[in-house]
């Protein structure tokens, strides 16, 4: 496997996050990492993002919560999570021992909640970066409601920036007219990186039973189906802001990952693909390495933004 490709990348300049390789498991598809401990070597992946953590535990939405669609899936988990206390007390101590970048995805229903979460997580230590989820389509308050306009996104980012020295990554929603405006607001407010895209708001119907397939009615669309939309937004946004972009949406293969890097992403996340192959992150990284070797690229970082005009 020694293909002499330098697979390390660094996301961000002022508060750099150094990754063994550019492939990170995406929030909500990798639990708290530990669920995958039997499936792959957690120390070998670029990093992972935890399921969104909120101040209080959340039960999430009633089932059915997921359904399959053409080359994709809908989910309406509703940000079910153990809550900050259990996360700090039971999960984080185990995560600290892992030799990989642990990014914590956080979700609040108000600006103050984001700030509080960020403050507590910074104090706790062992966190590589915070990822602000201002883009979840499956909750009534906060989430996408925040993420759809530059104002609130800037406000949340600034509030978090004020209380932490950890790298702050802001995860954006694709369900907007102008992703660039929102990206600029986050960058101006002090974000260290932008992660995009979160899921597209969608719906599925069981025609025979005349019922929505998700109890929550709408859900978030992910998987290969959304890759073209994700690539477009990564391309748009990475050209418009000075901070790095972490690209995701439908990545299944190493070549998919290469496409995002070429479009302008500094690293990538793998979400739904973890459900198609629990070792997807490792495989994508290996295939990306093969791709680089094959193309005579000696450092994967050289791909970033390398799309011919």
């Amino acid at each position: 496997m020694s293909k002499s490709v330098d697979m390390a990348v660094t996301v961000g300049a002022d508060r750099p996050v150094r990754l063994k390789n550019p492939v990170i498991a995406a929030s909500g598809t990798f639990g708290y990492g530990l669920e995958y401990a039997d499936q792959l070597d957690l120390g070998a992946i670029g990093g992972f993002v935890t399921k969104g953590v909120s101040l209080k535990p959340r039960d999430g939405n009633p089932p059915p919560r997921i359904c399959e669609t053409a080359a994709g899936m809908l989910n309406a988990i509703g940000l079910a999570n153990v809550g900050l206390e259990v996360f700090l007390g039971e999960k984080l101590p185990k995560l600290r021992k892992l030799d990989t970048a642990v990014v914590v995805n956080l979700y609040g229903e108000a600006v103050e909640e984001f700030a509080e979460l960020a403050r507590r997580l910074s104090e706790a230590g062992g966190v590589a970066a915070l990822e602000l989820n201002v883009s979840c389509p499956n909750v009534k308050a906060g989430g996408m409601a925040f993420g759809c306009a530059p104002g609130p996104v800037g406000e949340i980012t600034a509030a978090v920036r004020a209380v932490t020295d950890l790298p702050v990554w802001v995860k954006l929603t694709p369900n907007v007219t102008d992703p660039v405006g929102i990206a600029r607001a986050a960058a101006a407010a002090g974000a260290d990186a932008l992660c995009l895209i979160n899921t597209l708001l969608g719906m599925a119907i069981d025609a025979r039973r005349k019922r929505p397939r998700l109890a929550n009615l709408y859900g978030g669309l992910s998987g290969p189906a959304i890759k073209p939309v994700a690539l477009r937004m990564v391309h748009q946004v990475s050209r418009a802001v000075a901070i790095p972009v972490v690209g995701l949406g439908g990545i299944v293969t190493g070549e998919d990952a290469a496409e995002f890097l070429l479009a302008g992403a500094s690293a990538v996340q793998v979400g739904t693909a973890n459900f198609l192959d629990p070792a997807a992150c490792l495989r994508v990284a290996a295939e990306l390495e093969d791709f680089c070797a094959d193309q005579g690229v000696t450092a994967v970082a050289d791909l970033v933004g390398g799309l011919a005009a």
């Binding site: 669920e35 089932p63 998987g223 198609l276």
Partner: protein, 262 residues
């Protein structure tokens, strides 16, 4: 560790729409316990995208058995897979049946026979007495399976059938058979272990609750990861909140489930 490619040794049609898949899966079979399941991908591309959960129907040496019914696109594609092809899967997953009690009563309805047959063979192999109540719509399509099971279990545990059309065993629902069995059997620590369609499980849970018999049920839910990570497979829990069918289940104490919200 991780998912594997397993060679298809046989993919045999047992009846109309009912197939038994034999996989060479040395990394999975020896670890499998009754009630556990695997996540299996039926196609290499995006169509369909997600893996399908299937109970482990049996594990002998390096071979893993899956008993499945064609209900949609994924199982239709699976039914066309030929010997010699390889399939991608991971497991064994989830919590299986607690078989430590004495003289348990196994109950299967329709495809619920898949994991219960594994449990029955498991007990039989240890020479432990148990009762097995198996309910089918009718013999049609299930003949091969029913006869095979009878042969396999002959002399080890008491196997009784019910069928809705009366073509096999007692006419009626398997819950009626279960009530009789429970009435006839003395007290035991094994309790009732059941798998089948949701209305049947609900009825079994009710019967057991009425008689004060412990009851374990294997539940289904749509699944994406099978690993406890995606939280897609929520089952309403008795105390409020949800259990993960793939992690706390698929076998759950009937008392742990909020049957109102299911």
């Amino acid at each position: 560790m991780g998912a594997i490619w397993a060679e298809v040794k046989e993919n045999r049609k047992l009846g109309e729409g009912i197939y038994r898949l034999t996989l060479h899966a040395p990394a999975i079979a020896p670890k499998a316990r009754p009630g556990q399941f695997v996540m299996l991908r039926v196609a290499h591309g995006n169509d369909p995208l997600l893996a399908r959960p299937f109970s482990i129907h049996g594990a002998a040496g390096e071979e893993l058995l899956i008993l499945y019914k064609v209900v949609g696109r994924g199982t239709r594609i699976l039914s066309q897979v030929r010997t010699g092809k390889t399939l991608f899967l991971w497991g064994p997953l989830g919590r299986g049946f607690d078989l430590s009690g004495e003289r348990p009563v196994l109950v299967a309805g329709g495809m619920g026979i898949a994991p219960m047959a594994f449990a029955a063979r498991w007990l039989a192999a240890q020479g432990r007495p148990a009762a097995f109540c198996a309910g089918l719509p009718g013999l049609a399509g299930w003949e091969h399976l029913a006869r095979g099971l009878e042969e396999e279990l002959a002399g080890s545990l008491s196997l009784a059938w019910s069928s809705e059309d009366g073509s096999l065993g007692r006419r009626g629902l398997v819950t009626e058979l279960l009530s009789d069995t429970l009435a006839a059997a003395g007290a035991s620590s094994g309790g009732v272990l059941a798998c089948g369609p949701m209305p049947m499980l609900r009825a079994v849970a009710r019967v057991c609750a009425q008689r004060g018999v412990a009851c374990q049920v294997s539940l289904e839910a749509p699944m994406a990861c099978g690993l406890g990570a995606c939280l897609g497979c929520a089952i309403p829990a008795a105390g409020g909140g949800y259990l993960r069918a793939c992690q706390e289940g698929p076998v759950l104490a009937a008392a742990a489930v909020d049957w109102e919200r299911v």
